[in-house]
């Protein structure tokens, strides 16, 4: 069997893609990972802690990065996207577009370019909670630990302040997008998920009210490498948050938005309740829900959080969110279903437990695949030798994505061997 035929392409360098890649490579096959963003690790890198062990992202990610570095069989492209796929199982021709990083392998991560860069832009990694420079690295654990110049915001040669500042000759403003052709035996799609656009939730004030944030923004606020170095402060005035509300099903289980349960948002809010409770001993948390959904053994975590007298769980979906313009506090209106009364309550900050949207809802894979109305991949429609992992098929948590990716590794190995 040729080396090309032995190669599995993994599209997406998040936790699923990395798992599929290392499992496949460690069984003796070549793997190429391509990742759209400048860094590997995906959504997990943006979390403060993740289920089931509630450890920070580098537990889990670090070992996978190490496995990639140690394996001679894995290569990866960041800032790369699939442009074209042709061929069939065992013999796929894939054209990828390698976008320029403008930073080469000489980068040591000294941060001089960042300091010299005059261009500020919203920090996408922190979901716009702060700003970053056009020469940047997302966080201190980023992999590869190489800076990147944002092609949309960088002024290029007309500025070039970073080039002057870099002592290592690591910046090259002449880099251009390149097409790379790969020959692979099988393809694993692991392009993950996006957060539902909360500005569509007009009843919930998403994107309009300063102190109404998303659950992913809450992860960044609590994360030691986030915009507030892990201190949970509300966006409008950096006040400590002592009184927080979580609005469950922000988009999910709603035929007007996402007609499915996003699986993990209830657990995420319960988890985030503990972030606040651990940080501020007198803080109060109220979670407004339709049903608290705790898949499988997560139920026990729910019991634990529920025992905290400062955590209140209120049955009733929030459908009105207003800002108190004088204080920046947030007013929620909800029917407390168990009381049978319509109540309005005031909070320092409100977290919308926004749902999960498959990345394929907006960016379709350039090959013939069927999708559900919501953009999930219909697995049966994939050609032989193509596989979809994790949140591309249904909203799931990290551990189930990992299990799925491990299963897909063996499937892709079988596929490659079949076509010898």
């Amino acid at each position: 069997m040729s080396e090309q035929q032995k190669t599995v392409l993994v599209v997406g360098g998040g936790f699923s893609g990395l798992t599929a890649a290392v499992e496949t490579a460690e069984a003796g096959f070549n793997v190429v990972i391509i990742e759209k963003t400048p860094f590997l690790g995906g959504r997990v890198t943006q979390l403060n802690k993740y289920f089931p062990k509630l450890c920070p992202p580098n537990c889990g990610l670090e070992i996978n990065f190490k496995r990639i570095k140690n394996s001679g069989d894995i290569s990866f492209y960041t800032l790369a996207e699939v442009e074209k796929i042709s061929g069939q199982e065992g013999n796929y021709d894939v054209t990828i577009k390698q976008n320029p990083r403008f930073v080469n392998d000489k980068c040591v991560g000294c941060n001089a370019c960042n300091e010299a860069c005059p261009v500020e832009m919203p920090n996408e990694f922190n979901f716009g909670l702060d700003k970053t420079k056009a020469a940047y690295i997302t966080h201190n654990q980023a992999f590869p630990f190489k800076y990147v110049l944002d092609s949309k915001n960088c002024k290029g040669k007309s500025c070039a302040k970073c080039v002057e500042a870099c002592k290592y000759d690591a910046i090259n403003l002449d880099m251009k997008p390149e097409a790379v052709n790969l020959k692979v035996g099988a393809i694993v799609f692991a392009t993950g998920w996006d957060l539902y656009d909360v500005t569509k939730l007009d009843l919930l004030g998403g994107g309009k009210i300063k102190n109404v944030i998303t659950n992913m923004q809450m992860e960044r606020l609590a994360s030691p490498n986030g915009p507030t170095s892990g201190k949970i402060l509300r966006p409008s005035d950096n006040k400590e948050v002592n009184n927080i509300a979580f609005v469950q099903c922000a988009g999910s289980r709603d035929e007007n938005h996402l007609p499915y349960c996003s699986y993990i948002c209830c657990m995420a809010s319960l988890k985030q309740a503990t972030y606040l409770r651990e940080q501020y001993p007198d803080s109060k948390v109220q979670i407004f829900y339709i049903d608290i959904r705790t898949p499988g053994r997560y139920e026990q975590f729910y019991w634990k959080v529920k025992e905290d007298p400062n955590v209140t769980l209120t049955k009733g979906k929030v459908a009105k969110v207003e800002e108190d313009p004088a204080t920046g506090d947030v007013l929620l209106t909800v029917e407390d279903v168990l009381l049978g009364k319509k109540i309005t309550a005031k909070f320092d900050m409100v977290v919308l437990a926004a749902g999960m949207v498959p990345s394929t809802r907006t960016s379709k894979i350039p090959t013939d695949i069927s999708y559900t109305n919501d953009g999930f991949v219909v697995p049966a429609s994939l050609k032989k030798g193509m596989f979809a992992v994790g949140t591309l098929k249904s909203p799931v948590d990290v551990s189930r994505s990992v299990q799925d990716a491990t299963g897909v590794a063996i499937k892709s190995i079988q596929s490659v061997r079949r076509s010898i």
Binding site: C249, G316, A319, K320, G340, K342
Partner: protein, 372 residues
């Protein structure tokens, strides 16, 4: 342990709600979005979330003497925002239909009006009744050259049929209202209150249509209901003036005075207002149809009756003025049949909301439940 509560579901009630336009009932998963987006619900005892679960479970007794379903003005903000397509606004409409059926007697008439399959009989009865009475003199289409509706239907005959019909409708409605009122008092444990003050406050609320103004997605319901409501008031005044001219002043219709006189002014404005109002009501239903649906049989029965009254009223006048006798008399007959239907079925059709909604609004004030 607390005493066990035995739930006795009334499956016929559930079936009635489902068949009456509430077929989306079972989709509700009790998230309470509806209650929050509703601008007309009171904050204590808010609706429609609790009504949805009561109706799902067939807890018919919860609706006896319950004013809340009648506080709903069917703006359908709840339906527009419902995450499950459970259409609380439509379900509450179907529950109200059940309440109307429950409170209005005799029950065979209530069943007749609420049964879609019997729609032919609904109109056949007044048509036969009126046909029989009018054909007593033997000439159905008069031979005289001038078109006079009184040739066809003598004023006295009209009064002898329509006054008792309206009296019957109003009486049955008021009886139902009184039963409902007693049930509301019993359910709320209220024994006394300021009835006079509550009635005048209720009249003010109804006349100003203030509740309709808070509707969100269907804000134009205010306009359509306002037009239909006040057009009926105008037409009622015109009718009263007609009675005055004929019975007191002994004039003969059609009155030989110009269009600038009160009876004509009220009649014309009423007719035009009704035309606009009914048109708006129908077009609004189609405008919101994607999310709400176009409404139930019960809704459309009333729209049809009012619409045909309006259209046949205008057309018979036009035909009379144009001198086309055959059409004028036929259309006038249809007009009479539908007006008779409106009167006879007043307490059984959706129009009965005038009794129950007024009573519910009044009870809220009477019982002191409404926050000042």
């Amino acid at each position: 342990m607390a005493e066990a509560t035995v739930i006795k579901p009334d499956l016929d009630f559930v079936k009635g709600v489902i068949e009456g336009g509430g077929d989306s009932l079972k989709k509700c998963y009790q998230c309470a979005t509806c209650t929050v987006v509703c601008n007309v619900t009171p904050e204590d005892h808010p609706f429609p979330r609790k009504e949805m679960v009561w109706a799902q479970w067939g807890l018919k007794e919860k609706f006896a003497g319950n004013p809340d379903v009648w506080l709903c003005h069917q703006c359908n903000d709840c339906t527009a925002h419902c995450p499950r397509g459970a259409k609380p606004g439509e379900v509450l409409g179907a529950i109200r239909k059940q309440t109307i059926k429950q409170y209005s007697s005799p029950s065979f008439l209530a069943n007749l009006v609420s049964s879609k399959g019997l729609v032919w009989l609904v109109f056949l009865i007044p048509a036969l009744l009126l046909g029989a009475i009018l054909s007593v003199d033997g000439t159905f289409i008069p031979n005289e050259e001038e078109i006079k509706f009184s040739y066809f239907a003598p004023t006295l005959t009209i009064q002898a049929v329509f006054v008792p019909a309206l009296t019957f409708g109003l009486l049955v409605g008021v009886l139902g209202l009184m039963k409902f009122w007693a049930d509301m008092k019993k359910a709320a444990g209220v024994t006394s209150g300021d009835l006079g003050g509550s009635i005048s406050a209720t009249a003010k609320e109804i006349l100003s249509h203030v509740k309709f103004k808070s509707c969100g997605v269907s804000a134009d319901r205010f306009t359509s209901h306002f037009l239909v409501f006040y057009s009926f008031v105008m037409l009622g005044i015109a009718t009263a003036l007609g009675v005055l001219y004929i019975d007191i002043m002994h004039m003969e219709s059609p009155f030989r005075f110009g269009y600038g006189t009160p009876v004509k002014i009220f009649g014309l404005i009423g007719a035009i207002g009704l035309l606009a109002g009914v048109f708006l009501m129908i077009s609004n239903r189609f405008k919101n149809a994607e999310k709400v649906g176009i409404g139930s049989y019960f809704d459309w029965l009333l729209i049809t009756i009012v619409g045909v009254i309006m259209a046949s009223g205008i057309l018979s006048w036009v035909m009379r003025v144009a001198g086309i006798a055959g059409v004028a008399y036929t259309v006038y007959f249809i007009h009479l049949v539908f007006v008779l239907s409106l009167f006879l079925y007043l307490p059984y059709s959706k129009l009965a909301h005038m009794f129950y909604r007024s009573a519910a609004i009044c009870f809220l004030k009477y019982s002191g439940r409404e926050k000042k």
